[in-house]
């Protein structure tokens, strides 16, 4: 199939075609879309928001213990409001994906938020989970990987998720002064920083590197009501050696040493290779050509992880056409693309009530196997097509295509029109043949959205 660049770009690098806007005309338009995604927007979560929420909640919890009836009621309401945050997060992310003219920037938000997977535990931390994307991911989408890595792996949410907040140098002041508490190292962040975020599990590093990095990271922490990201009393004294390089002088390490090791991990040739493979597998094919991976890795190494340069290689690569439809849309991608194809705008999504959001999107995405904000492990979502197109997963997509368009729209589109709105001239013969034969508009629309043509990209 000979697919034009605008269609390739919209379908493979963005969130599909929309009747409300044209597909991006050229590579530059695709790359320009990234800057727009860097802006966390007017409803970005700030540390002040998190602090205020914590304060309010603590005050209500206290008043509730005192048995104040009104406080018990307000505590419950606030708990409910906090538990509803993941749904509001889905709403704002979906709205932005739906309205982006060339969705590549929003796709990158999805990609990097998954590469740096976090999982907020409990209602009281959902706001921090949202802040992670607003503060660590979005602003650094279009710069150097080292800055993105530092922003993500020193963010309070990541420190919390990977237990860095409870990692103490065995010989730190805190450990020495509290022998009864048996304070010590926690390797979790150090391990994932190497294994998942930079070099990759197959790379050439040792358990000792992980341990030394864990010692070097001690002191990096976040506590509520404390602005410091580095608490010297927790830090292990003395220099550490990670991958053959020594960090921190004779004294304890400082924040700049931690930034230095992260910058070196970001710059490591294994990182270029690991990240090139990840980008290729996410955007192009579950089994990408070695040419694509090598081209991405080379641009990564030559530019020292300058992301716009690497994106430029991806966007212009011939494999984008060669491997058309090699990938399956993940549930979020499916929902955003279906919503766009149906002609809804970002504001239409923002206007949905909580109840509607829950029924139309939040429950379905969970059932399709991608529970929003609840990835199962730090390695994030699987890439393999077979992980998503299971009988259950496909049944849920078909169900969505049958039920939701009629709920989202006042009037259903003509399925024969929807086919070309959603797929342009990439529609395959079997689908072209089948759609006009549907018994009803409803089933015709469902057929377009359930088709393999639409669910692949």
């Amino acid at each position: 199939m000979d697919v034009s660049f605008p269609l390739l770009a919209a379908i493979r690098l963005g969130y599909g075609l929309s009747p409300l806007m044209p597909a991006p005309p050229n590579a530059q338009a695709v790359l320009n879309s990234v800057q727009r995604a860097c802006d966390p927007g007017t409803d970005a979560v700030s540390h002040a928001d998190i602090r205020e929420q914590t304060k309010q909640f603590a005050a209500l919890a206290k008043a509730r213990k005192g048995g104040d009836k009104a406080a018990i009621q307000r505590y419950r309401e606030m708990n409910r409001a906090m538990a509803a945050l993941p749904r509001q997060d889905l709403q704002r992310r979906l709205a932005r994906a739906v309205e982006a003219p060339a969705g590549f920037g929003e796709r990158l938000v999805q990609f990097w938020a998954d590469h740096f997977t976090i999982r907020a535990d409990g209602a009281a931390n959902q706001l921090m989970g949202m802040a992670f994307v607003d503060q660590a991911i979005r602003p650094h989408l279009n710069g150097n990987f080292a800055d993105l890595l530092i922003a993500a792996d020193t963010h309070p949410m990541m420190l919390r998720y990977l237990n860095q907040n409870s990692s103490f140098g065995p010989n730190s002041r805190s450990a020495q002064n509290n022998p009864e508490r048996a304070l010590g190292l926690n390797e979790n962040l150090a391990r994932e920083m190497i294994e998942l975020h930079t070099l990759g599990a197959g790379a050439d590093y040792s358990q000792e590197d992980v341990r030394q990095l864990a010692e070097l990271l001690t002191g990096l922490t976040w506590r509520r009501n404390d602005d410091r990201r580095f608490v010297p009393a927790m830090a292990e004294p003395g220099a550490e050696t990670v991958l053959g390089r020594s960090y921190g002088g004779d004294d304890r390490a400082e924040m700049q040493d931690i930034h230095a090791v992260m910058a070196d991990l970001a710059r490591h040739p294994h990182t270029a290779q690991h990240m090139a493979g990840k980008l290729a597998r996410h955007f192009v094919s579950d089994t990408p050509s070695s040419a694509l991976v090598q081209d991405l890795a080379a641009s990564w190494r030559d530019s020292d992880g300058h992301l716009p340069t690497v994106y430029g290689v991806l966007v212009a690569h011939p494999d984008l056409a060669r491997d058309f439809r090699a990938k399956v849309r993940q549930p979020f991608d499916y929902l955003a693309s279906a919503t766009r194809a149906l002609g809804l705008s970002g504001d239409d999504i923002r206007a949905l009530t909580g109840q509607q959001m829950r029924r139309f999107y939040h429950v379905p995405i969970n059932r399709m196997g991608q529970p929003w904000t609840r990835p199962t492990g730090p390695d994030g979502w699987p890439e393999a097509a077979a992980a998503w197109i299971t009988p259950q997963g496909l049944a849920e997509r078909i169900e969505w295509g049958l039920q939701m368009p009629a709920k989202l729209l006042k009037e259903l589109p003509d399925p024969r029109k929807l086919v070309s709105t959603a797929l342009g001239d990439t529609v395959g013969d079997p689908l072209q043949w089948a759609v006009p034969k549907a018994e009803s508009t409803l089933e015709g629309v469902a057929m377009v959205l359930s088709s393999n043509d639409f669910n692949r990209r």
Partner: protein
């Protein structure tokens, strides 16, 4: 100001959308000749064997773990004067007394030193050694067992939910199943969709099974979320009472880097629920059943600074069922002294965990030793019969 706007809005509670345990979502089945039954439970996240089966009689344990695995003094049940059972498995103690629960204290796969959950689980489930890169290992060992049984009737694997386990993947037909996946399409629309999917095997197979599956229902199944461990155990038992002879599912939540007592407590509750549900559901068939619970690797001998443990090497395997010779801890104990630990930090494995799985298959299904060592677990040395089965 998102947060302030939020508290002015009154919002409805999230109902079933908080997926309970996404990792508790898969159960696979296969039929085989004979009456013997095998249940394999994969414990995802690296179970801390030293905490589940606490070697409180080893003098070095207390120094390594001042606040964890403290034996009968803190509510663990003494088993034999050396080992004690974590209180989280207290409900299984009657099985121990009846000879229907046993442990192997220090085993692992051949996977070493990288300590990545993802690779470790792949290795455990695919059952091959390190002679091939993990990515190239094809299919799971239970599936290879089926291929060795010419009389195996239908070879069907059902999986509940979204996550397929490697262990039964392979050439046997796989079916995903979930309660209540409604396909309310007209026959015409289904026929058209079959045509649309015809040249795309991934979609074609998923759709044809989805139609078949829509007719099936699990008692007490709910929409959304993962099934509970008890429900998985009950469901597996109901299948094992019919033609199924091999079932496998996974229980997640073992990665106890911090607050281990809480983390492992919840995971042990799930494991305990699953085993008790199997015993109850199987009735008289429990006597012909062997349950093996295995994990990708153990955890560090020392507790870390967060009241938890990090990724290690050797760990425990649990056996249960009326078919085993339980009430015993079998296999060698490597000790916890300075020179005894693997790489100075982990429990030293004294045997390949796959050898126990192999001996179980030998005893349950009569599988030939050379098939076990060459095709089911290529390169495995089974060693001497550990005498697991009654």
């Amino acid at each position: 100001m998102l947060s302030r706007r939020l508290f002015l809005k009154s919002t409805a509670l999230i109902g079933c959308s908080a997926a309970a345990h996404p990792l508790l979502s898969t159960v696979s089945f296969a039929s085989a000749p004979g009456e013997n039954r095998l249940v394999v439970i994969i414990l995802r996240g690296a179970m801390d064997g030293l905490d589940v089966l606490q070697p409180y009689g080893d003098p070095a344990l207390r120094g390594l773990r001042p606040g964890l695995s403290t034996g009968p003094a803190d509510g663990a049940t003494d088993l034999d004067g050396f080992y004690a059972l974590h209180p989280g498995l207290g409900a299984l103690y009657p099985l121990w007394q009846a000879g229907q629960l046993g442990f192997v204290p220090a085993v692992s796969t051949p996977y070493r030193d990288k300590r990545s959950h993802f690779d470790g689980q792949d290795l455990l489930e695919s059952g091959t050694g390190h002679d091939l890169p993990v990515r190239m290992q094809q299919g799971g060992w239970l599936n290879r067992l089926l291929q060795d049984m010419p009389d195996a009737v239908s070879q069907t694997a059902y999986s509940v939910g979204v996550e397929d386990m490697l262990i039964l993947a392979g050439q046997a037909q796989a079916r995903s199943w979930a309660p209540d996946a409604q396909l309310r399409m007209s026959p015409q629309a289904q026929m058209l969709l079959d045509h649309v999917y015809h040249d795309d095997p991934l979609f074609r197979d998923a759709a044809s099974l989805a139609g078949e599956i829509a007719a099936e229902r699990m008692d007490g199944g709910r929409r959304g979320g993962g099934a509970t461990a008890g429900a998985l155990g009950r469901f597996a038992a109901s299948r094992l009472n019919e033609a199924t002879r091999i079932a496998s599912f996974s229980i997640g939540g073992w990665d106890s880097h911090a607050n281990q007592p809480q983390v492992i407590g919840r995971a042990l509750q799930r494991l305990s629920d699953a085993i008790l549900a199997l015993r109850e559901g199987l009735g008289g068939n429990w006597d012909r059943t062997t349950v093996l619970a295995m994990t990708e690797f153990g955890r560090t001998a020392r507790q870390n600074g967060s009241g938890g443990t990090d990724h290690g090497t050797g760990g425990a395997m649990l056996m249960a069922g009326g078919a085993i010779r339980g009430g015993r801890v079998i296999g060698d104990w490597p000790g916890l002294g300075e020179g005894d630990l693997y790489a100075g930090r982990d429990l030293m494995p004294t045997r390949d965990v796959r050898a126990y799985a192999a001996w179980a298959m030998r005893g349950l299904f009569g599988t030939e030793r050379n098939a076990l060592e060459q095709s089911i677990f290529p390169g495995l040395d089974m060693g001497d019969d550990p005498g697991m089965l009654a």
